[in-house]
């Protein structure tokens, strides 16, 4: 017992010494460097984009930052939901970062809550011709505003996209270029199934793709004014019937989103000729195609009554409550990260779309698009992209619609009752 007590005491003392060393590390927000004050800024980001973000921050620190006395430290917080959670808590504690990425649907929540700095004055007073709000694709700007106030600038943005294993399609006698409408998409699925016995499409049910199909059929789960839920109607019934029909005839592998790993397995084993995913996965899918020996192309979401696609990804926002000097320093960083050169780098490195229109004229981008035309399709699709709903209740609704559509499509729950219940729930959430 004596020995045990001694050992425990030693462990406690050792730990106490380690704390002292760790807890004493100060965190100054500005430091003297060569006589001038360097402004230290913190930038939070999310997801597996460390290589690109850390590289971009390094480029900023060594160029604009070195010139203007600004140093940025980028810290990965995990997923978008982790950023939201920690941002709320750290804002309350007064220890929020200076800038953060925000999943585009969260901009409304934080902007409305007064946690973000309005960028209107900074953007209006900008004389630097490299920054031009009109140069961003219109479909990407929608989620930068809350009640007509600019709270963020587009950063790593994506759209839903159709991916095609053209090797499989051609084997089945399908011309990949012919897949443009709901009908031609269904026809391609039918041919693939008939000729190869495999699936035409592998489809995990998720709100993003449901939205995209509703959009291409002339609807959307929420009204344009962002107040009314619009799912109990013929538009969603047509989307559900379309998928149930493909599924029943063995042409589509349809499953709940909880089993989304099945899609990766279907792609690698070449058990499916097509799938839907974010443009953010493009770089990874090109690697997968090369490793597994098939050709990969991308295409627009098939058109029903109209063309359309949903957007996703994140913007950069500035946290409220800083003095003007820090705001100006943050603005320098935000301009740098949304510059044409950086948006091209981000696109090449991650697969997210280049957010600036003039990126198309960029030499590096041109060469890249020539080498990988899949990226150009993603970029062209931006012209028909729709922003994400800004209603704060929509985040919770996304889970509800994903579950309800899976219930209808996979478990064959009563469609009328499920859609009516979903619409009721949606209206509750949107008007809380």
């Amino acid at each position: 017992m004596k020995h045990l007590a001694k050992r425990i005491l030693c462990a406690v003392l050792a730990c106490a010494m380690m704390f002292t060393a760790t807890a004493c590390g100060g965190d100054d927000s500005s430091s003297a460097q060569g006589g001038g004050e360097t402004i230290e800024l913190t930038f939070w980001y999310a997801n597996s984009v460390d290589d690109y973000v850390q590289g971009a921050v390094e480029r900023f620190n060594s160029t604009v930052g070195a010139e203007k006395g600004i140093h940025v430290t980028a810290e990965n917080q995990g997923a978008y939901t982790d950023v939201d959670q920690k941002l709320q808590a750290s804002y309350l504690a007064g220890t929020a970062p200076d800038m953060t990425v925000l999943e585009i649907a969260s901009v409304g929540l934080f902007g409305d809550g007064g946690m973000l700095q309005s960028l209107d004055e900074l953007a209006a007073g900008e004389s630097d011709e490299t920054f031009d709000l009109n140069d961003f694709h219109e479909g990407l700007l929608y989620n930068c505003y809350v009640n007509d106030t600019l709270y963020s600038v587009p950063f790593l943005r994506s759209t839903s996209l159709l991916y095609l294993n053209t090797t499989m399609l051609e084997e089945a006698g399908v011309d990949p270029a012919s897949i443009t409408t709901w009908d031609s998409f269904a026809e391609a699925c039918e041919k693939v199934h008939r000729e190869t016995g495999k699936y035409g499409v592998s489809y995990p049910i998720n709100y993003w793709y449901t939205e995209a199909f509703m959009l291409t059929n002339g609807g959307f789960p929420i009204s344009d004014d962002g107040k009314v839920c619009t799912v109990d109607n013929e538009v969603s019934r047509a989307v559900n019937s379309y998928w149930m029909d493909l599924m029943d005839k063995g042409r589509a592998h349809v499953y709940a989103y909880a089993e989304a790993d099945k899609m990766t397995s279907d792609i690698i084993n070449q058990d499916t000729a097509m799938w839907f995913s974010s443009t953010g996965g493009l770089t990874s899918y090109i690697e997968v195609a090369q490793e597994n020996g098939f050709e990969l192309q991308t295409a627009f979401i098939p058109r029903g009554t109209q063309q359309g696609t949903t957007t996703g990804g994140c913007n950069i926002a500035m946290v409220a409550g800083m003095d003007e000097e820090r705001q100006a320093a943050c603005w320098e960083f935000m301009k740098f990260m949304s510059s044409v050169d950086e948006t091209v780098e981000a696109c090449i490195s991650t697969g997210y779309v280049a957010t600036r229109k003039s990126a198309l004229e960029n030499e590096k981008m041109k060469q890249w698009n020539e080498q990988y035309p899949q990226y150009e399709v993603a970029l062209n699709q931006l012209s028909v992209a729709k922003g994400r709903p800004n209603n704060p209740g929509y985040t919770e609704f996304q889970v509800e619609i994903t579950n309800a559509i899976a219930e209808i499509t996979v478990n064959r729950a009563d469609e009328d009752a499920t859609l009516a219940a979903l619409e009721r729930k949606g209206n509750e959430l949107f008007n809380e």
């Binding site: 704390f19 750290s90 996965g281 990874s284």
Partner: protein, 273 residues
């Protein structure tokens, strides 16, 4: 005949229970030595002819494994030490003293086990942040520095120690600290070992607090570090993630093997069956 039937049905149930607990671990170990092609293969293979042990090297080299390991060790050891200092006196007081409001206080302690961590995350973060403790080891140790379950379990164990033994110690002029640490604790060795192991597993595997109470890499622990392995190889790296999980699991297996005897004893003594 009835006896044979009873025995064989018990055997079948035992085998089923064993498989329920064993298969997930086997699957993890198996995936950790497969190639990504084998992982995605359908129908899946239950054996691998050419194991890919290099997955472990990839997992080790893809993240700052030693840095996260050091953090995990520091946090786990400190939480265990802190709980020893807070749980033992509390359990002793609830087991052996009568004081005003004892029932209500014990009820409050037990009630804390019903509050999920997600609900108290916000105030905990704000308190630690205002005290400038976020991104230090303190932020991961203080929220777990005591355990209501530990107090409850140790109290039950302390209540089983004969009163006469304590009275005899008092007659010999032993102080409360001496009674607590030299009589009660050795008499409850099995319960203490079990608590230590459960505490070790809980803290070692803790993902939630380590994720939400850190904003930099400085004190992040292994469970959070290992999640970033999913980014290896373009985000399709289940085999590497599983190799990381196997590496993280090893210390728990070793601790379990060492403390196995005591744990079985503790569960049979304390009536936790």
């Amino acid at each position: 005949m009835a006896n044979i039937l009873r025995k064989s049905s018990r055997g079948v149930i035992n085998i089923i229970l064993f498989l329920i607990f064993f298969i997930p671990f086997y699957w993890m170990a198996l995936t950790s030595i497969k190639s990504i092609g084998q992982v995605m293969q359908f129908p899946p293979a239950f054996f691998v002819s050419k194991p890919r042990f290099e997955n472990f090297i990839t997992a080790f080299e893809s993240i700052e494994f030693l840095h996260y390991l050091k953090n995990s060790v520091v946090v786990t050891v400190c939480v265990m030490a802190a709980q020893l200092l807070t749980v033992v006196p509390a359990a002793y007081a609830f087991a052996r003293f009568d004081f005003k409001g004892k029932g209500a206080m014990f009820g409050m302690v037990l009630a804390t086990t019903m509050i999920p961590a997600q609900m108290i995350f916000l105030p905990v973060f704000v308190i630690l942040s205002k005290a400038h403790l976020i991104n230090t080891y303190w932020s991961l140790i203080l929220p777990q520095a005591t355990s209501a379950f530990g107090i409850f379990m140790l109290r039950q164990s302390f209540m089983q120690v004969p009163k006469e033994l304590i009275e005899a110690a008092r007659l010999d002029k032993a102080g409360e600290m001496k009674i607590m640490f030299k009589i009660m604790l050795p008499m409850s060795k099995s319960t203490v070992s079990t608590l230590a192991l459960l505490n070790f597993i809980g803290t070692w595997n803790d993902y939630f607090w380590a994720k939400v109470l850190t904003t930099t890499d400085a004190v992040k622990t292994l469970p959070v570090g290992i999640t970033s392995l999913s980014n290896v190889d373009g985000g399709i790296a289940q085999h590497i993630v599983m190799a990381g999980n196997v590496l993280m699991l090893l210390p728990i297996l070793i601790a379990f093997v060492l403390a196995q005897k005591q744990i079985l004893k503790a569960f049979s003594y304390t009536g936790v069956k």
